[in-house]
């Protein structure tokens, strides 16, 4: 396959993993161009700023099923497979990968791993790291390596799949993935609560620790985000205040019992209203929550990770800055769309700095989640170095010694 030109970036669409490995080996020994792995292009603006030159490796043709032993509930596929395609295949067998991915009609499995994408269900089902049982990838010099295998339990060798989670295409191009699957639940329902104060929201969330119910997801949104989510779900719900939406999955009797139980349990926190959302309405509402983090036209979306007990303090600060906030509330993961008023890079930096001050430096992280491309290269994605940053840099140098894999992005990842 010959490279085709697209702007200042060339594009290479490998037809097989070995072809990709050959291409990258040749690149490392000859041109040494920058390589940008590209899946569904849903996170490209932040992961790979457009002014870069080099070769985009487009994984769209690496989308085959390698092995699907249905009754073992594992599947091995090439990493360019789109999530909708994967879901269609496994859904037909009553199975699923319980990772919520926005823009799943475009997003690819390799991209989900490289960006560590997750959604509301992470509270009960974990994240992609918990489902990858085997991985193949190609490092900066074209070496195609693998770790793990195709069985659900396996401790032979180091778990290289974990290091590729969140790697943003800077360590290796993920080419093939084996996944552990789960059965699809019978049904799902959500309970939408409106609250009038941060304090009541926090008390209700705290009470979940000992709730008689076992939620699969607990989503929070402030009124600004609530209005957008409600509009998107096309279902009438109160959106003038704080909202918490608790999700249950399982057999119908169990789901219904829990929905009524949580309404009962949370009465003492004086919700303004509570409403059970079922069937198609629940699916649409759920999808609106999943899509929300990438749905904005606003220039910058941030993501903060805090301890759940510290979350509402952060949410309050963000809300005061007119940010639309949605959070995986029981996990302490907050997404915020910055307001239109943040129209210059300076404004954005100002907001980030104010928010960063609200975080405990030992247990709080602020990152840029989505961003206009021209700002992306001027903003470090991580507002502070994460734990293990020195080792991450060593890992990058070891797997990509010529600095060919999305290396500028890596170099600019952390504010110095």
């Amino acid at each position: 396959m010959s490279p085709t030109h697209s702007g200042s970036l060339e594009e290479f669409i490998p037809a097989s993993q070995t072809e990709l490995s050959r291409f990258m080996t040749e690149n490392a020994t000859t041109d040494q161009k920058q390589i940008f792995p590209v899946g569904g292009r849903t996170s490209l603006s932040v992961c790979c700023p457009s002014s870069q030159s080099g070769t985009q490796i487009c994984t769209s043709q690496l989308n085959r099923v390698i092995d699907y032993p249905i009754r073992d509930m594992t599947i091995t596929v090439e990493a360019g497979m789109r999530l909708d395609q994967l879901n269609e295949i496994i859904s037909a067998e009553g199975q699923r990968l319980p990772i919520d991915v926005s823009q799943s009609n475009r997003a690819t499995l390799g991209g989900v791993i490289a960006t560590n994408t997750c959604g509301p269900r992470r509270f009960s089902y974990g994240t992609i790291r918990d489902y990858v049982i085997g991985i193949s990838a190609i490092d900066g010099r074209g070496n195609l390596f693998k770790s793990g295998g195709r069985v659900v339990k396996n401790v032979a060798g180091y778990d290289l799949g974990k290091m590729l989670v969140g790697s943003l295409g800077t360590l290796a191009v993920i080419s093939q993935v084996s996944l552990n699957l789960r059965p699809k639940p019978e049904t799902m329902c959500m309970v939408w609560f409106a609250f009038d104060s941060y304090q009541n929201v926090d008390r209700a969330l705290e009470a979940l620790i000992t709730s008689g119910t076992r939620p699969t997801a607990v989503e929070y949104c402030n009124s600004k985000a609530a209005r957008q989510i409600v509009a998107e779900s096309r279902f009438e719900l109160p959106a003038d205040h704080h909202a918490i939406c608790v999700c249950y999955e399982g057999p119908e009797n169990q789901v219904n019992w829990q929905a009524n139980q949580i309404k009962e349990e949370w009465k003492e926190f004086s919700p303004l209203s509570s409403q059970i959302v079922q069937a198609d309405h629940a699916t649409r509402l759920y999808n609106a929550f999943t899509e929300y983090q990438t749905s904005s036209d606003d220039p910058v979306t941030l993501k903060a990770v805090v301890l759940p007990s510290q979350m509402m303090k952060f949410v309050e600060a963000a809300t005061q800055l007119n940010i639309a906030v949605k959070a995986h509330a029981a996990d302490g993961i907050v997404f915020g769309h910055l307001p239109d008023s943040a129209s210059s890079l300076e404004d954005v930096k100002q907001i980030l700095s104010q928010l960063k001050n609200k975080l405990d430096p030992k247990t709080g992280y602020l990152t840029i989640y989505q961003c206009e491309s021209e700002w992306a290269e001027l903003l470090p994605l991580f507002c502070s170095p994460p734990p293990g940053w020195d080792l991450m840099k060593q890992l990058k140098n070891a797997l990509d010694p010529d600095q060919l894999l999305n290396s500028q992005r890596f170099a600019d990842l952390v504010e110095t």
Binding site: A28, P69, R71, D72, T74, T127, D139, R141, N143, L144, F145, K146, S147, G149, V151, V152, K153, N154, V155, A156, G157, Y158, D159, L160, K162, M163, L164, V165, G166, S167, L171, P183, E186, E206, I209, R214, P251, N253, W257, Q258, V305, L307, P308, S309, H328, D331, G332, I333, K362, T363, G364, Y365, L381, P387, G388, D390, L391, M392, L395, A398
Partner: protein, 502 residues
Amino acid sequence: MVEPTNQTMPQETHLLEELEAGSPSFSALVQQLTQIVGKTGILYDADELLVYECDGYIVDKTAPDIVVFPTSTAQISAIVELCNQFNVPFLARGAGTSLSGGCLPIGGGVMIVLTKMKKILEINLRDRYAIVEPGMVNLHLTNALKGTGYHYAPDPSSQGSCTIGGNIATNSGGPHTLKYGVTTNHVLGLEAVLPDGSIIELGGPTAEVPGYDMHGLYVGNEGTFGICTKAIVRLTRDPESHRTMLAIFQTIADATRAISAIIAAGIIPSALEMMDQGIIQAVEEAFHFGFPLDAGAVLLIEVDGLEIALDEEVRQILEICDSCNVREIQRADTPEERLLVWKSRKQAFGAIGRLSPSYCTQDGVVPRTRLPEILEFIEETSKKYGLRIVNVFHAGDGNVHPILLFDERDQAQIQKVLDASEEILEKCLELGGSVTGEHGIGVEKINFMSRIFNKTDLATMETVRNIFNPRQICSRDKVLPPHQTDEKPGISQSHPARRAPH
């Protein structure tokens, strides 16, 4: 595919010093270590070192030259710096329950035993985590959480003695992994002393941290990435209720059909364990549960969750078992009955002592649906070698633990056990599985690594290992096979293991 170019130079492990008791450098090292840990925190008399010459894998034995018992991260860091200064190898040891020789001090050196570091540093229910020291016994954490509604989910069968630090090193499993996952799914972060003595933190108490998943990479390193000195683990909500039952089948084939059918029905039991006829007989003799001695297989099935859902799940399971020719189902619905059933499972290995003077436990994995094939193969292997092999294992995960019975006084039998083990593990690979589901590579299975992984895979793993442990001064010659150019052979297997509390 080109030859890997990121392969590093062979490590110069031969440059590490071999300590000689009584030599000036030995005396100097002992003196300086004593300054760090005090006189009561160090052993170096040959008699006292014997305890530390092996772990649960008793095939190979090598005593360390010195054993130290630090009580803090700072002490461990100082000890490691000294080892670097004296150029002697070192490794960490928890309770020494490894079944693959993970705690074998190859080349002697300093063994850093973590059993004095067993405190719980923090329990935070609101944020669902606990911070513990590495020498904390697994079960003690769950015991400390009793009454809170939370527990620490990974529960290896040795949980009454194994430590959390050791669990992190081997990425331990246990009977409840089918629903709850293994150790790596429950570790949020950790502190470690790297092989150069520096102290690092990876991950943290938050649900995630930005960047590469470094703590995920660290878990399962089998002691080769330094010494974990603090663990931040996720706490799991207790299920409201359990239903535990024993399903007795005439044949292994019927039992394995039931396993696949239960999971295909969308039920993920919290445990799905199988015992075959050989082990049933031993357990029955030891504990008198009333198992029929002529049964082909017994399945221990446990479901947990909300009380409201369980009876329906049990009804479905009973129906499936019926359709798979179940002979009898015994329910264990009271907490006392449940405890007794689990005692039969977790102490099954203790009962084996009644069958044979020695035994060797293997740890292989196959895709769940291939269980009948591997069990049939194990039976054939048993006949071929004239060795008795019994099975008690995590059937839901396809993780088999064939136990080969023998008499270690008979050299011919020992060779048969080694050959039979090799054939069984080779068959696991042929069926698409792995040679270890939870015990680790250690030194025991190091020769299998080059059959599972190609040169590039191993070179990449070595590149990663070298970031943490470039000189292999820490837990040397584990996990990755020695380079073919390396003249020094790895540990070669001479006797099979006979004891295995898993």
